[in-house]
């Protein structure tokens, strides 16, 4: 495309050629790599000043840097942008895709976490969700197959390495793009959906200033808990 870039050039023009290359490499790595990238690998992430430029580039397009495990970086939607888009009803995933994604998150993360097998607030998990666990009378086998295909292509789920009982799935690398606030919202939404009358659900509603019995404020259905899924 054109050599001048209307959005990014004002930010990049004062950098030396070398710094510009390093900032663009780091920007590309956090934006397009499937997995978080190691800080040590990229000067644009290692150097605090250059990293600030990467963050400014991301801010222009509604994104932000997300620190993973203290040593890696990726990018995700800035919380204010995600909130505005959600309020506007923006939702690129279909209801079926969200439902299937929620089932994988429930079986691979929420249940192991409630059993104390998974700790922390990450949505990464090695506990596979089997096709049997994804069966529900509300979604036909064909719809489920197509949804799994789309979710895999989007990096929201991935095949687990365990093929002993047929294909099974784990959360995809894109879930690591969730910011801390987005991870907490997703967790809250799953609790409100799975155990709406539990004391912890009550606490979530109290914290969010919601009336008892409300499933989640302006988000009207349980599957909307995955609005951050489009990462």
């Amino acid at each position: 495309m054109a050599e001048q870039h209307a959005l990014f050039d004002p930010l990049l023009q004062d950098l030396s050629d070398r710094s510009r290359d390093e900032v663009l490499a780091a920007f590309s790595a956090v934006q397009y790599s499937a997995h978080p990238v190691a800080e040590v690998q990229l000067p644009g992430l290692r150097d605090v000043t250059l990293r600030r430029h990467v963050q400014k580039m991301l801010k222009l397009i509604g994104r932000t840097l997300v620190h993973v495990d203290g040593t890696h970086w990726t990018s995700g939607y800035a919380d204010d942008i995600a909130e505005t888009l959600t309020a506007q009803g923006w939702q690129p995933l279909s209801v079926v895709d969200r439902a299937v994604l929620v089932l994988v998150l429930v079986h691979s993360v929420a249940i192991p976490r409630s059993e104390g097998i998974l700790t922390g607030d990450s949505w990464k998990s090695a506990r596979p969700t089997t096709v049997d666990e994804l069966r529900t009378t509300r979604i036909s086998a064909e719809e489920r197959r197509l949804a799994l295909q789309r979710l895999r292509a989007a990096g929201l789920i991935q095949l687990s390495g365990d093929h002993s009982g047929g294909p099974s799935y784990i959360p995809g690398p894109q879930l690591q793009r969730l910011t801390p606030a987005a991870r907490r919202r997703l967790q809250d939404q799953l609790i409100l959906a799975a155990a709406p009358s539990s004391p912890i659900a009550e606490a979530i509603r109290a914290r969010a200033g919601l009336a008892p019995g409300s499933a989640g404020g302006r988000r009207s259905t349980s599957t909307d808990g995955t609005e951050e899924g489009a990462v």
Binding site: H5, Y32, A34
Partner: protein
């Protein structure tokens, strides 16, 4: 718009095209910095597509050994994209967008020609799977019902270097047969026409 409002407007549109891919919008949508515009041939809508500065993008990932989210059947998918470029980009001195409409019959014929053998029924599964994948990511606009395909709005980001490479690929691939397009339904004409258009819709290929 104030600079702050303008920045928020830009960031929101960018967030939308990142989460949903290129978007088809009304032509009166104000321009957004860094988002290229690809007008539909009928002028009724346009696509907005993200662009990046030179030195940014997927090419960097290869050097870093940090792969993007994997495409399923990447080789077949790339082949089918190349075939569709051959079928739909016929004015090769100009840009690839919007190109012309190609057909599944053309894609199948070029695919078999590229393989150097007659068409086989198993080709269809691979071709349709690739067309669907490329449609989902807006590299192509695939109308499965009509069996017709166009290049997708993402192709407007192809620069001179990429077009030169594609020109060479088109030269190597077998020439597609002439496209025979499905007659358009007269139910929803773009402009109000006299009532006796039902007899129209003959061979427009």
């Amino acid at each position: 718009m104030s600079p702050v409002e303008n920045a928020a407007y830009t960031a929101l549109w960018w967030a939308k095209v990142q989460s949903a891919g290129p978007l088809q919008v009304s032509p009166d949508t104000p321009p957004v910095a860094g988002l290229a515009r690809a007008a539909e041939p009928d002028g009724a809508s346009l696509w907005i597509v993200p662009t990046l500065p030179d030195g940014a993008g997927h090419a960097v990932l290869e050097e870093l050994g940090a792969p993007p989210v994997a495409v399923e059947q990447p080789n077949e998918t790339a082949r089918v994209l190349a075939i569709c470029v051959t079928c739909c980009w016929i004015e090769r001195d100009g840009p690839a967008w919007p190109g012309v409409t190609g057909t599944l019959a053309q894609v199948k014929a070029v695919y078999a020609g590229m393989r150097g053998r007659p068409e086989q029924s198993s080709d269809l599964t691979l071709i349709i799977g690739s067309l669907r994948r490329l449609h989902a990511t807006q590299w192509l606009l695939w109308d499965e019902k009509a069996g017709e395909v166009r290049l997708g709005p993402r192709v407007i980001t192809w620069g001179p270097t990429q077009l030169a490479g594609l020109r060479e690929i088109c030269r190597i691939l077998p020439d597609p047969p002439t496209a025979v397009l499905t007659p358009r339904s007269p139910e929803t004409p773009a402009d109000p026409l006299p009532a006796d258009v039902s007899a129209a819709g003959g061979d427009d290929g």
